[in-house]
Amino acid sequence: MKRDMDRREFLKVTGTALGASMLAGPGFAFAQPQPGAKVDSMKLMTATAAMDPVRPEVARTCAQAFQAIGWDIEAYPVDYNQNVQKVIMEHDYDMWFVMLSGAPIRIDPDVFIFQCHHSSEYKAGGFNWQGISDPEIDKLAIAQRAEMNAEKRREIVFKAQEKISDAQAMNAIAYMQMTNAYRSDRIKNLTPMLGDGIGSFWADLSMEVIQGDGYVRTARPSEVKNWNPVAIKDHLEFMEVRMIYDSLFRIDPDGKAIPWMAKSFNIPDPKTIDIAIREGMLWHDGKPVTIEDVKFSFDYHTKWKAPFFLSMLQLVEAVEITGKDSVRIRLKDPFAPFLTNLLGGMFIIPKHIWQDIPEKVGLDDPLKYPNDKPIGSGPFKLDYWDQGREYKATAFKQHFSPPKCAGIIGILYSSHDATAAAIEKGECDRTRYILKPSLLLDLQKVKNVVAKGYPNHGFYTLCYHVRRPPLTDPAFRRALAHTIPRGLIIEAILSGLADEGGSVIAPANKFWHNPAVKPFPTDVNKAKKILAEAGYTWDKQNKLHYPKKA
């Protein structure tokens, strides 16, 4: 019976992979090379220096390093939009150097294990753009999702990391630190969070103002797009909206889901979650938060297919009110990341306001509602928002966990240099997001400024399109892993503000990281040995050739 299940599951998985790859087009249409032929040169795509100065540099360094094994590579920096289109949407690329940033919802291992490596995710818009299809990884990726016991799940995640490291569909080159800076003469007690640094929600709550009017002036790298909790599309939007709106759970500084609006919770069986909410919570307009609002929020997000939460909301069978302050959430299937990634992210919205949206504001869809005067129940309420300049949010003192500062002024700076200058001059107190490493080193010399790297679980990674030879060969990919000069990249390009990459789950992510998965040591001789053992040969010009026997 057990065997039978496995076989069926295997067929299902390979079936979807085949289907997806046929849809994907160019990715699959690659002919097998002639035995003994010279290994063709390839392109290494990445974003331009305008978007991130690190990327083209690393791409060039890698391209140069691969010459040591007799393989020609061209670094190919193009506009990031085109990267996304070619790699994620069309699967028309050879290799891609990209940053998988460390958002809180990526602390749960599901994103890097399942989404980046399960064969069903090789589809337009999916995260397995490498096209890896390994039945063992697939099995582990599915199993870790369904295991609700954290300890048991961790064992599965550990095994998956080993398999993924062996498969080398992507090489995590470096875990970059969250390079943040703040004025130590103006603010203190900032609680950093994994992957969020001192721009974290916990820093928003914990920081205290030493001198000034009590407001913390925070530099933003890009414009706040809107304040609509239902229309969130990415993490930089999420970082601001989460101050105004609360969720049932929050992800704590180490990445664990902790009850937030929820007072207590209970999981009687893997498909059922009972939640009791705190009493006495208020909306910013003074009305009480009720259990009706909680149910309404689930229904509303589901009805209007809130993009950020859609895939997880599809797992919810029903939400039932079971008492004055309690609800029961029933799932269709057990789903381990549910607490962190849905309940720790989806915002609870006031029924008395959103029941009229979009109809009563003359719209046909709530995604078109900017919600520029948001009413939430979070620890900050929005005073004003001048789009393109700044917003001001003031502490909501009636909150059950009120902020220590008077509020936050979020200011848009047009460049990293402008942000660094403003911090240096004391016009700004704190960075919200990462700052260019070279600027961080400059700021370290400034009096009354703390500038340093904070732990992060995101990483720079070199992704291989494993459906294109020679990248189809795992031995070849392992040889590449030994060729990449990680130490040089970190010292010379990342100013030392990063750590050598090994597993796709970073060591900073303490609970989930498998310490047995280590970085591949840079050793060109070893790389050549692996290639030679796999049958590859070199010609007189030292160029690499495929094995003579297929």
Partner: protein, 328 residues
């Protein structure tokens, strides 16, 4: 005359239609699917389909085009893809900020440029003339992102005389509009970007004024005025400068057009929340409604200024007569 004005207005409308169409095509030629950028690829397929539908990106191109033309004609530019706010609301705030910066910069350029040009011609070949010519050419060759950053480095970081950027000190908020012009904090933030703009464009009106003045100064009526025993400054300002102004006027309308386009860089250097910054953001994030509307608005502004200068020319220069055959 009337016929000429009507014809010019008709031409203007046709130009605007062409500009609108070119903008529509240009933005769709930018590499990368708009939906890939506006709509985060991190979302799963169902979520992407859902977003495309909400913003009308699932419609065929020609439908999007006609909708866009209709919206442009009625000045209802719809809603931003990224912020969901009405485009009109977004633009109006940014528009005023740009106009203030541009207005200040251009006033400075024209007043100083014309004044200097006048004096330079009057004292031709003096050290002042040669020095100013050299200085203005150097400034014109230095792009605003260089001068702007130099100003910031010296006057802001080192000497601490001015803020590093922005339009107001963080935490201060004023309603958009003319009230801003009477606010000390705003004016303090306005100075550096204004002189950056002014220094870059100064050479054009200054040198044209100088040349045009020199031409006028060689005329007989200037000799006559001097011979009449008029004070030198009266001759310079009342007789020479007034007659020398026409070419400067022509060139200044073109100059303002250039300056509005060049604004993008100055706003970026000084984190000025104007149209330029908005255009950069909107274009790079494929926010079509905002990008199209802001580029279109700039085109309207430039074309209108040209129209006004063309028409005003007929009134200012009595030698220009339109529609009448020269009588023998």
């Amino acid at each position: 005359m009337q016929e000429y004005i009507i014809r010019r207005i008709l031409y203007t409308l046709m130009t605007l239609f062409a500009v609108a169409t070119i903008l529509f095509i240009l933005f769709r030629m930018v590499p990368g699917d708009p939906t890939a950028q506006v709509i985060s690829p991190a979302l799963d397929e169902a979520a992407q389909v859902r977003l495309k539908k909400a913003f009308g990106l699932d419609q065929p191109l020609y439908v999007q085009y006609f909708l866009y033309l209709k919206n442009t004609a009625t000045l209802d530019w719809g809603r931003s893809f990224s912020s969901a706010r009405p485009v009109f609301d977004i633009l109006i705030y940014r528009f005023w900020n740009t106009i203030f910066l541009m207005g200040a910069g251009m006033c400075f350029t024209l007043v100083v440029g014309i004044g200097m040009g006048m004096v330079m011609a009057w004292r031709r070949n003096s050290p002042l003339d040669l020095g100013s010519t050299l200085a203005s050419l150097v400034l014109q060759s230095a792009p605003p992102f260089v001068t702007g950053i130099l100003f910031l480095m010296i006057l802001s970081y080192r000497l601490d005389l001015f803020p590093t950027g922005g339009m107001l000190t963080p935490g201060i908020r004023l309603p958009p509009g003319l009230a801003l012009l009477f606010n000390k904090d705003f004016l303090h933030h306005l100075i550096l970007p204004t002189i950056t703009v002014a220094f870059y464009y100064l050479a054009t009106p200054m040198l044209i004024m100088r040349d045009s003045m020199l031409e006028v100064l060689g005329s007989d009526f200037i000799e006559l005025a001097k011979a009449k025993g008029l004070a030198p400054h009266v001759v310079m300002i009342k007789h020479a400068a007034r007659n020398a102004l026409l070419p400067v006027l022509t060139v200044s309308s073109v100059l303002v057009g250039f300056a509005i386009g060049g604004q993008v860089i100055v706003e970026q250097v000084f984190s000025w929340p104007g149209m330029g910054q908005l255009m950069v953001e909107a274009a790079s994030s494929h926010d079509y409604p905002v990008a199209q509307a802001s580029f279109f608005l700039l085109a309207v502004l430039t074309i209108l200024l040209n129209l006004v200068s063309d028409i005003s020319y007929c009134y200012l220069d009595p030698r220009i007569k339109i529609g009448k055959e020269p009588s023998a």
